[in-house]
Amino acid sequence: MIYLDYAASTPVDPAIIDAMSAAMAAPGNYANPSSTHSEGRQSIDLISAAAERLAALVNTSPDRLIWTSGATESDNLAIFGAATYRQDRGRHLVSMRTEHKAVTDPFATLAKRGFEVTWVDPEPDGRVDLGKLESVLRDDTQLVSIMHVNNETGIIQDIGGIGALCRDRGILYHVDAAQSCGKLPIDLDALPVDLMSMTAHKFYGPKGTGALYIADRKGVHVDPMLFGGGQQRRLRPGTLPTQQIVGFGETAAIAAQRMNQDLAHLRALRDRFWAGIRDLPGLVVNGSLEHGFPGILNVSAEGVEGESLLLALEPLCVATGSACNSKSQEPSYVLRALGRSDELAQSAIRFSFGRPTTDAEIDAAVELYRGAVTRLRQLAPVAA
């Protein structure tokens, strides 16, 4: 097994597992953080410390963070919450079809509930053109949601530039940072971003724990989606899962320390991999090497069917389409939005690299990919 699917999920760092175990078993730590007794306060302290660590990673203050069950919930809370909170001012929303389903589906649902959604078309490499974006912003636009790093192509959007356009017009800007949090520098104090979704399991933390950043700025607020005990200033009730949050905090602390080293490692891996396959004819990079996050390389191969390619690549674990819809047989809607033909989109493989990835794994992947593409092309009626 060679795992090159780190954009889908990651192994949890042993230090993080230890911290989580202690948060579940050590006397006091397991108490309900809503309780007033000393044991409950001990749990709150663990949670506060985790908030400090995540806040430090993205340079904001801990009280700006709401804990959620993952980026899917953060995206939903941000989008539904901001849209309904501001619906009296206007009902126009802006996003892109290349966003994750956890963003496009809430917008599609809002469109059925009387909101108007404008989908901005991406440039061929997947980035948004700021001029095009500017041209669709209106007086009644309330929310723009455009992600940081795309989960399929790795393309990096200019969130500073997008945010500036929004802030000038009093429009809220939400960023799905599920794929960038802990991997690229993020300075929320400096960025014109109002809402940001994060999740731990994409950077060596536990699955099922996310956060939503809500800027401390007039007009920035979300209506809650869940109602219950008054936890988290009523924005997101439910017993706080101490061990999950402790794990997220530890994840953030490790990421803050390792970010530069991680990035250099990923860049070296990605370049080694690309150097190993680039001379194959008929390859198309989905996204761009220049503007892409180096942890992801998405490549289509002309004349090769995707599902067969995936099987021929075994024991390589990689993805076609994004993890969340890799079960469906349909070509990725993201790649189609980039203008790929069905056939080319079908042949796309997302290679994603991680901390544990080695040069030897890259070399083995190169060999497997070259072999599989060559063999399947020989097998196909119309050779490339």
Binding site: E307, A312, P381
Partner: protein
């Protein structure tokens, strides 16, 4: 247990398709449909298929089914090709229902080849 989408037999046929390739000769048929491309070629003697080969662009089930069909149909008559039902392959390879259409493309190709052979007679 969540099942492996590919049976051992599909994996085996996909990994070692002994009938992959092109047989020189004038008996050949090609079909493109449902995102699947199949080309079949055959050596025919006395109205019987002596040897058969395939080229295919498609999912693993399509490739495995093409390989299995070639192996199965060697020695058969044109009439048998004309009446070739893909149902047996769908069962023996546990092809998921949503892929039925693709296997019918293979059936089409086999029947076309049968017609080509018949017309040549």
């Amino acid at each position: 247990m969540s099942p492996d989408p590919y049976s051992d037999r599909v994996r085996e046929l996909f990994a070692r398709p002994g009938h992959a390739g092109v047989l020189e000769g004038n008996c050949s048929a090609a079909v493109v449909d449902q995102g699947v491309k199949i080309r079949l070629t055959a050596h025919v003697r006395d109205g019987r298929v002596e040897a058969m080969a395939f080229l295919a662009y498609g999912c693993p089930h399509v490739i495995a089914a093409a390989e299995a069909a070639c192996a199965e149909l060697e020695g058969r008559s044109a009439v048998e090709l004309l009446e070739f039902p893909a149902t047996g392959l769908m069962q023996s390879l546990s092809v998921p229902v949503e892929k039925t259409g693709r296997i019918l493309v293979l059936e089409d190709a086999v029947r076309s080849l049968g017609r080509v052979i018949t017309e040549m007679d």
